[in-house]
């Protein structure tokens, strides 16, 4: 790799002597210095304690108050705001499908995961998979180990179930892969998704995992 994955410019990956002497593991660069600085993480001091929404205080935000009232607390950590360069990134990677950009944030996501946590990605539907040929969430995880135990129901099916089953179940967009259900029992789970918008998706996934016997659930998203 001699080109920056974002701007396509030349990558100067010469090892500097002080780096070699530092005995740190060498991680090959994927971004040039200029683009690296574009993707600088925002400071995380002022954000909602639950969902990671960036706001003026560290109090729980209104959305999360609502979830709490429904006894569905979920702690989410977001790396970035869904804005500017990250919006552009997801447009190119997820919607247009430039898979070369999949692992740009692997290291940053990895640094937020604890050693004893089980990583579970939010899945995409079969029809999305057929068209996109990848799940943007597992793509983002890169080399990070995960358990792909959630299955996204087709959108149409989720609709038609309405009225037949109880309301909450009709809206539940996921199912558990029964073959893997034993592997999640009593685990500390961290759910991964690309964007946290209203939190609905992650809350449904968390609820389903709790019903299937996990010890705890929290979540990490690239953007909020």
């Amino acid at each position: 790799m001699d080109n920056c994955r974002w701007c396509g410019g030349f990558l100067n990956s010469n090892l500097k002597i002080h780096f070699i002497l530092s005995f740190k593991p060498f991680i090959p660069k994927t971004l040039c210095d200029k683009c690296e600085s574009l993707f600088t993480l925002p400071s995380r001091e002022e954000s909602c304690v639950d969902c990671g929404r960036f706001q003026a205080s560290q109090k729980r935000c209104q959305d999360c108050e609502k979830w709490l009232n429904q006894k569905q607390q979920l702690n989410n950590q977001a790396l970035y705001l869904y804005h500017g360069i990250i919006k552009e990134y997801l447009e190119r990677y997820k919607f247009k499908g430039d898979y070369r950009l999949h692992s740009l944030f692997q290291t940053r996501i990895n640094s937020l995961i604890e050693a004893d946590e089980l990583v579970i990605p939010i899945p995409v539907t079969k029809s999305t998979m057929k068209q996109r040929h990848f799940n943007q969430v597992t793509g983002m995880l890169g080399e990070i180990e995960f358990l792909d135990c959630l299955v996204a129901k087709p959108k149409a099916q989720a609709q038609s179930e309405k009225g037949r089953n109880e309301r909450i179940n009709a809206q539940q967009p996921f199912e558990i892969n029964q073959k893997l259900v034993s592997k999640i029992k009593s685990q500390k789970v961290v759910l991964i998704d690309d964007v946290y918008t209203t939190g609905t998706t992650l809350h449904y996934a968390a609820q389903l995992l709790r019903e299937n016997g996990v010890q705890s659930v929290r979540s990490i998203t690239l953007a909020r």
Binding site: K96, G97, D98, Y99, R100, M129, Q131, H133, F134, T138
Partner: protein
């Protein structure tokens, strides 16, 4: 969507309706060919490294023509050979202008080339009236019910050409296609588009004109050149137009040559001024006094102009210094290729809302602002190729009522590009004089 929307096109099957796909006349080919270490894209004819192009489910995508919508190895490209189904409304040519004797000669040669299914290079100096010269040939083709394409590597050029062709062929259906326009594709007798859009055509045009054929990114881009050839029908004609053809182009094609401007005045010469340390100055965030003086003088005289700088990052330096040195209300804007507001800024210049633009080679050609001068700052930098310098100088003196103007070029050393550009202008003026 109907079958006309796909005739002469090369589209992924995923973009077509089920009904269209059932047409027996359709031709299918795999979008991506998988080879040993690379993949080959049928649409853009590029090779991609397998390792880079791989998707996790063992399909591959082309990252070269990605911006036109991702093609992957699970797709097929669909094509329906070009059919012409146009209603010809007379008069086809609604342009009321008249050609000069010299323009007429080139125009006749173009008509003849189209009639005889020949390819041709129209080499006409800046301001010779290439567009008007092309009208008669296009009118002939349209009147025969043939399909015509006009493409340029530069989106600005397409945007400027479109209303001119609309006025000249007011009874003909046409469409403008480029990456920044929202308008969806439609089957039209006359298509004006960027050369990138040609990647979506195959055997479509009976006549294809490529304006500013030596401009970036078309020149030296095998993929775009392949697309241009592929978009022309087997017995169609390709007309290339430019003021600055490379020696290679001049050899490859039969040439129609016009060395004199439509108003019969000679091309403005490039005046050089030495600023031996301009490079060191700009690194230190400064620009030579001479350049500042020239700019202030033009502002003083309310003379409209373009100020060319070598690099995008120089724009800001020059902008800041001028803001400090000039105390009146800011009367300029900076423009570069990836500038979001590029089209608006060019329009502001056209509407005389600003006195001048500070820009890079992106505005070297295609765009015409009547009665302007130009200043080239750092003309000895390599980005100013011979063709660039000739084109930039060619922005000046385009109006019959102001057929001259100043081209001031500030250099640190007398580079071979500057010398060659001056030589070419002198040569064309010598030939022009002999005709005029």
């Amino acid at each position: 969507m109907n079958q006309l929307d796909i005739t002469g096109r090369l589209l992924p099957d995923t973009a077509c309706d089920e009904m269209i796909l059932n047409n027996h006349a359709l031709q299918f080919q795999p979008a991506i060919q998988i080879n040993h270490t690379t993949i080959h894209c049928t649409r853009c004819a590029s090779d991609c490294e397998k390792a880079e192009a791989q998707l996790p489910d063992e399909t591959y995508f082309c990252y070269q023509c990605f911006n036109l919508g991702r093609l992957d190895s699970s797709m097929k490209l669909v094509h329906l050979p070009g059919i012409n189904q146009f209603e010809v409304v007379h008069p086809v040519l609604t342009w009321k202008g008249r050609l000069t004797e010299l323009q007429q000669k080139c125009s006749d040669e173009v008509v003849k080339a189209f009639q005889e299914h020949q390819n041709k290079l129209l080499w006409a100096v800046t301001g010779a009236g290439k567009t008007e010269i092309s009208f008669a040939g296009i009118a002939w083709a349209l009147a025969q019910g043939l399909r015509v394409g006009i493409a340029s590597p530069r989106v600005d050029v397409c945007v400027e050409l479109y209303p001119r062709y609309q006025a000249a062929f007011a009874n003909t259906s046409m469409i403008l296609l480029h990456g920044k326009s929202e308008e969806p594709y439609q089957y039209r007798q006359l298509t004006i588009c960027t050369t990138h859009q040609l990647l979506r055509f195959q055997d479509a045009f009976d006549v294809l004109i490529i304006d500013e054929v030596d401009a970036f990114p078309y020149a030296n881009n095998d993929s775009l050149q392949m697309a241009a050839k592929r978009s022309v029908k087997k017995h169609g004609s390709l007309l290339l137009m430019t003021a600055t053809p490379s020696p290679k182009l001049r050899q490859q094609y039969q040439v129609s040559y016009l060395p004199l401007r439509f108003h019969r005045h000679l091309l403005p010469k490039i005046k050089i001024h030495f600023c031996f340390n301009w490079k060191r100055k700009i690194y230190a965030g400064k620009i030579p006094q001479k350049v500042i003086f020239k700019v202030l003088q033009k502002i003083e005289r309310q003379q409209r102009f373009l100020l060319f700088v070598p690099r995008i990052k120089d724009l800001q330096v020059v902008d800041e210094i001028l803001s400090k040195k000039y105390h009146g209300e800011k009367c300029w804007k900076t423009v570069y290729s990836a500038d979001e507001a590029r089209m608006e800024k060019v329009q502001a210049m056209r509407d005389e809302k600003v006195l001048f633009l500070i820009t890079t080679t992106i505005l070297e050609r295609g765009v015409t602002f009547p009665g302007i001068d130009v200043i080239i700052f750092g003309g000895d930098e390599r980005v100013f190729s011979v063709a660039s310098l000739v084109q930039i100088a060619g922005r000046v003196g385009r109006k019959a009522s102001r057929p001259t103007g100043d081209v001031d070029c500030y250099i640190g050393s007398y580079s071979s590009n500057v010398a060659e550009a001056r030589k070419q202008i002198a040569e064309m003026n010598r030939k022009g004089k002999a005709l005029g």
